[in-house]
């Protein structure tokens, strides 16, 4: 589905990460975590082919679904929810040709994210959580084999966060879609995640949650003492140095 071999990314003299090797199998849910500026979004862009790697290779399946950061869609945007999903199907094609069964596929994709009743609503008038569900449908409608989610939970309320992560999880179970899920918070995806890629300070660690989220591992990554505590199925991390904003 996705294979990175000795991949590295640098902007000028600034190395985001290097020597990154990662294989994601069908149906696997991999969470990508790390501080601001650690290169999580750049990783997604490199996988999408929008950002060339400075070293190593990336091999990726055809058919990637992409769920971007939640950004409010302007109220007057002349699109209904079904049109947004339709863009995921054929928005990139030239001309006006439409494939047979288009409407049915769009309806099914909306149904799959429990948004059938939103189909004819102006997308700009939906709530943030509803818009993000529509975006998940847009990413899934073309039947991707790999789903890239870049902070899809940002600025969503807790209920919408749960809905969106549960939808992504359902998809990979039912269709074997591999999932790479960028998030700054592990807890919302904790019930679903198979492995974690943790980026920090130009280095990284790949492993299960139990392997990566230990005081030892994170202290090593950040180079300062970091404390990891588990409280009632929630992981709390203390002592992460604040990222310096450039």
């Amino acid at each position: 589905m996705l294979e990175l071999v000795d991949a590295g990314l640098a902007y000028g003299s600034r190395h985001l990460w290097s020597g990154l090797s990662l294989r994601v199998s069908p149906g696997e849910f991999v969470a990508v975590l790390g501080a601001n500026g650690s290169g999580k979004t750049s990783l997604v862009r490199a996988i999408l082919g929008l950002q060339p790697l400075s070293e190593g290779t990336v091999r990726v399946t055809d058919g990637i679904g992409y769920v971007p950061q939640q950004r409010r869609i302007l109220p007057l945007t002349p699109l209904r929810a079904r049109d947004v999903v339709g863009q995921g199907l054929d928005g990139h094609r030239w001309g006006f040709g439409r494939s047979a069964g288009r409407a049915a596929r769009i309806a099914a994709a909306l149904e799959a994210v429990d948004a059938a009743e939103l189909a004819d609503r102006p997308v700009g008038l939906l709530s943030g959580g509803e818009q993000q569900r529509v975006r998940v449908a847009q990413a899934l409608v073309a039947g991707p084999r790999l789903l890239l989610c870049d902070e899809p939970l940002l600025s969503l309320d807790l209920r919408s966060q749960r809905t969106v992560t549960a939808l992504v999880d359902r998809r990979r179970r039912e269709a074997g879609t591999a999932v790479l899920f960028v998030t700054h918070e592990i807890n919302p995806v904790l019930p679903y995640v198979d492995r974690v890629l943790y980026l920090a300070g130009g280095r990284f660690r790949v492993g299960t949650v139990d392997e990566v989220f230990t005081s030892q591992t994170l202290s090593d990554l950040y180079g300062v003492p970091v404390e990891v505590v588990t409280v009632k199925d929630r992981i709390l991390v203390a002592g992460i140095p604040q990222a310096h904003h450039e």
Binding site: P78, V84, Q87, G91, L125
Partner: protein, 278 residues
Amino acid sequence: MSEIFNFADYGQLLALVHNSIAAGAVLGLVGGLISVFVMMRDMPFAVHSISELSFAGASGALLFGANVVLGSLTGSILAALVIGLLGSRARDRNSAIGVLMPFGLGLGVLFLALYKGRSANKFGLLTGQIVAVDTPQLSWLLVTSAVVLIGLVVVWRPLAFASTDPEQAAARGVPVAALSSVFMVLLGLTVAMSVQIVGALLVLSVVCTPAAAAMRVTASPVLVTALSVVFAVGSVVGGILLALGSTIPISPYVTTISFLIYVACRIIGARRTVAREA
């Protein structure tokens, strides 16, 4: 009132101005379509700037005895491409556009001040001169429109994708930056056309207001496009027909019809959002 309106010889007048009516209808069609993207891409301010530069180009051509249409086209396409290069984010763009606009207008005023010819020509570039559409001008208009229409048909879907969701479109392989340049050229052509007919100061009533009005009453992309074209053709052709029986130029009629349609759409649209939230 009788001095402003006089429809006594309307039939004869109509025969004389069929060129203008054809020009108005074509401009309405193209303007209505382009305005959908102008609104999607949040570009009304940029359009105004392009039309000022188009005015500068046209008045420069007038002064130097060159083809006015060609001058207008050169100015507007140059401006459109420069604005296209400024980036797609409205915030980055707007300050540069605000700088470009008075420069264009000032340049145009300078050229007109130096021009010794008929003063009606001067005023027409700013506020419109559609009654004067002659056959060569009409054929030029038709050719430009055909170019814009064909261009729009080819790029419509990916351009709409890139205009409403550039990130997702880029992720799906849409050449977002290239499409932006293509759109700016099509926009430049449309603006140059509009400057010839409604004048540089009033271009927005044809290239922005129609879709802005349509977007108030529906979110269906097909319906927005259809309504936008109907509104644009209605205001331009309606404006010409009303102006025929009067001594007032065409522009105030076009802008007033266009504005009234917008107000009506806002009123209808306000009801629609309230009903939805209830």
